[in-house]
């Protein structure tokens, strides 16, 4: 019987069965950043242990970096965290893509860029969006700090096997519908808890046709659907993307590529669950509430608690609307925005900025809207500059920033103020996520964020940028 990619990777990385029944899994690549690693290094020191495979551990700094000017002095706590990462990297011989390297960026942008992220590998990072790397056919997942310690000390961790759900999206996407809309739609359909206990395999012609960067956008948000990880099977696009990148061994590339491709799920692989979605049903999707599964098509109205099917659902809609200060039953289109943010590990890559740049020329950010564009890495920033994309953004009234997580979770100076509403290309719309305890987030694709910035309100990018033909839904 055939095997899924998940099974193949799991079996090749299983070390032993532990006394509690869990599996000890070898972690091929360990990525670390400044927020979740210092405590783990502290535990390592307390136990008198070393990093077992320093050459398989890679560090960068992303969450707390100021983006207006990366060199500007940071607050003392942030400075302490950066200094801790530097000294841990030095003491334990770990590669560190620091601010001066020209390669710094959000850890989930840096890994693929450097060719560290490879098919058929296991990747762990003390960060829940590690699933991003699944775009390459890796089994990649977020871990807690104590597990960061385990991986540092042993290059392994204790884990239970996951079930695999294959999500097939076939058909044709309508104009103006992006990878972000596909994943927001999937999460809306299956729920924020739907993936608990699962790894998601994204399959069907829609993912086959996506670029590697679009696949990363999809895999990135697996965790928002409750899945620990998600992947797309490696194919020729995966191979072409990785070819020649710094950490790819080019000595016998053909053999390497063949090995990578061999990890793809077999045609007769079986899955614990299969979900089929018609691509033609997917609309540009935005969130209206405080959970990533609070998504609706831009043409829909904000849910009405009165129409809820169960008392639990009713209470949850009421709580969300009270926080969002949005009226039930009214169109989401037209809701005023104060801030527009394009960036993050979901949508902060070259293709995201390129796509937006195609449409914003000749437009201006609406008066009173603060719009910021934050490249996901120093390399993305550099490439955008070479193509003149930064100029297009600034001409349209965006602030063009330096690389970092920025307003995705606002551990740096980029924060919402009071109950500002932000049209955001990031991945989480939790209460207080963007730095103000009352700040409000509406998730959407980068092109939709640009449309919202220009209109000054949640808008249908297809109308503003004339992305005809119009959808069938009025």
């Amino acid at each position: 019987m055939g095997k899924s990619l998940y099974q193949k990777v799991w079996e090749s990385h299983a070390v032993s069965t532990l006394a509690d029944g869990r599996t000890q899994v070898f972690i091929g690549t360990h990525l670390i950043h400044e927020v979740t690693s210092p405590q783990a290094f502290g535990m390592l020191r307390d136990l008198g242990l070393k990093v077992k495979y320093p050459q398989r551990t890679f560090a960068t700094v992303d969450h707390i970096v100021p983006t207006e000017n990366q060199d500007q002095p940071v607050d003392p706590l942030a400075a302490e965290m950066m200094a801790a990462l530097q000294s841990n990297a030095d003491d334990f011989n770990v590669t560190y893509f620091d601010l001066k390297s020209g390669k710094q960026g959000i850890v989930h942008v840096v890994g693929p860029e450097q060719g560290i992220t490879q098919p058929g590998t296991t990747i762990a990072c003390g960060d829940s969006h590690t699933a991003t790397h699944g775009a390459f056919g890796a089994i990649a997942f977020g871990i807690g700090t104590t597990q960061v310690r385990d991986v540092l000390a042993t290059q392994t961790m204790a884990m239970e096997a996951l079930k695999v759900r294959r999500i097939e999206v076939n058909g044709k996407l309508r104009p103006g519908v992006y990878a972000k809309d596909v994943i927001l739609h999937i999460i809306r359909q299956l729920g924020a808890k739907g993936g608990i206990g699962y790894c998601y395999e994204y399959a069907g012609n829609i993912f086959d046709e996506m670029s590697m960067e679009e696949r990363m956008t999809v895999c990135n948000m697996s965790i928002e659907g409750g899945a620990r990880c998600g992947y797309v099977n490696p194919d020729e696009k995966t191979v072409a993307y990785l070819k020649g990148r710094p950490y790819v061994d080019m000595s016998d590339f053909e053999a390497t590529a063949a090995r990578w491709l061999s990890f793809a799920s077999d045609p007769d692989a079986t899955f614990d669950d299969v979900v089929k979605i018609d691509a033609g049903e997917i609309e540009p999707t935005v969130t209206w509430g405080i959970s990533p599964d609070h998504g609706i098509a831009i043409s829909e109205t904000i849910p009405d608690p009165a129409a809820a099917a169960t008392p639990v659902e009713k209470a949850s809609i009421e709580e969300a609307l009270a926080y969002m200060k949005l009226p039930a039953g009214t169109p989401i289109k037209g809701v005023k925005v104060d801030v527009a943010f394009i960036g993050s590990c979901t949508n902060g890559r070259l293709s995201d900025f390129r796509e937006v740049a195609k449409y914003i020329q000749g437009h201006k950010v609406a008066e009173g809207v603060k719009a910021i564009a934050v490249p996901g890495s120093q390399i993305v920033a550099q490439l955008c500059k070479q193509e003149g994309i930064d100029k297009i953004f600034t001409a349209a009234g965006f602030e063009w920033r330096e690389a970092g997580c920025s307003m995705c979770l606002a551990m740096n100076p980029d924060k919402l103020v009071g109950d500002q509403l932000c049209a955001s290309s990031s991945n989480r719309n939790f209460k207080g996520r963007q730095g103000s305890p009352t700040g409000r987030t509406v998730l959407m694709s980068p092109v939709m964020v640009a449309a919202a910035a220009i209109r000054g309100s949640v808008a249908d990018a297809r109308e503003l940028f004339d992305l005809a033909p119009q959808s069938a839904v009025a």
Binding site: H13, S16, V35, T156, G432
Partner: protein
């Protein structure tokens, strides 16, 4: 490294309402600027315990002096979802919680808590509602999570069957909730696995 066997946890309880309480809510990101976990306890649920505009205490149950001593947290569905930050269970543990009872847990939060020897067990919504009623009527009601017998009991007479994945239960009751020693002991097997992987 001999670890304590966690066979049973007892204490008074407090109910924190809401479904899908994410780890950003448990510990807002701005309090993650730290290089150790010490001191995180006072920031647990900060943004819902204090009015963001005035800084005044809200009516959050953790601000209610009747529940000051509570060491068992009662919650709803999908508790601990969102960010993988271990800061969340760490802040609850440092705050003084020794266990969480909820309808369901997000996976990473669950694993992180187990590794801190803070059991997370599930009961049904109706059972949690009964415990809530009991502790709200009398905060001195003592709740016992008996991991050996797989029951949750209370001094008010409740006795429910609890659920917890067997691997986590076993790890807690047999004092293996922190797997580091076992992982280290398997060094030769680890090297063999690594040797078979062409990319390592």
């Amino acid at each position: 490294m001999a670890l304590a066997k966690v066979t049973s946890v007892s204490g008074t309880g407090v109910f924190v309402p809401g479904a899908d309480i994410d780890t950003d809510r448990i510990i807002p990101a701005r309090f993650m600027k730290c290089v150790t976990f010490d001191g995180l306890g006072e920031f647990a649920f900060y943004d819902v315990r204090f009015n963001p505009e005035t800084g005044e205490k809200t009516e959050h149950p953790l601000n209610d002096p009747r529940f000051k001593e509570a060491s068992i947290l009662l919650a709803g569905v999908n508790f601990g979802c969102g960010s993988s930050r271990e800061h969340a269970p760490q802040s609850l543990s440092k705050y003084g919680f020794q266990a969480v009872i909820a309808e369901s847990f997000a996976e990473i939060f669950f694993g992180n808590s187990t590794t801190l020897a803070m059991p997370c067990v599930t009961l049904t919504a109706a059972e949690i509602a009964q415990l809530r009623e009991a502790v709200e009527a009398d905060p001195a009601v003592e709740i016992t999570i008996d991991l050996a017998a797989k029951r949750v009991r209370s001094s008010a007479g409740h006795d429910f069957a609890l659920n917890i994945p067997e691997s986590a239960r076993d790890a807690l009751v047999s004092g293996r909730w922190d797997p580091i020693q076992e992982l280290l002991d398997n060094e030769s097997k680890v090297s063999a696995t690594a040797a078979a992987l062409s990319y390592v």
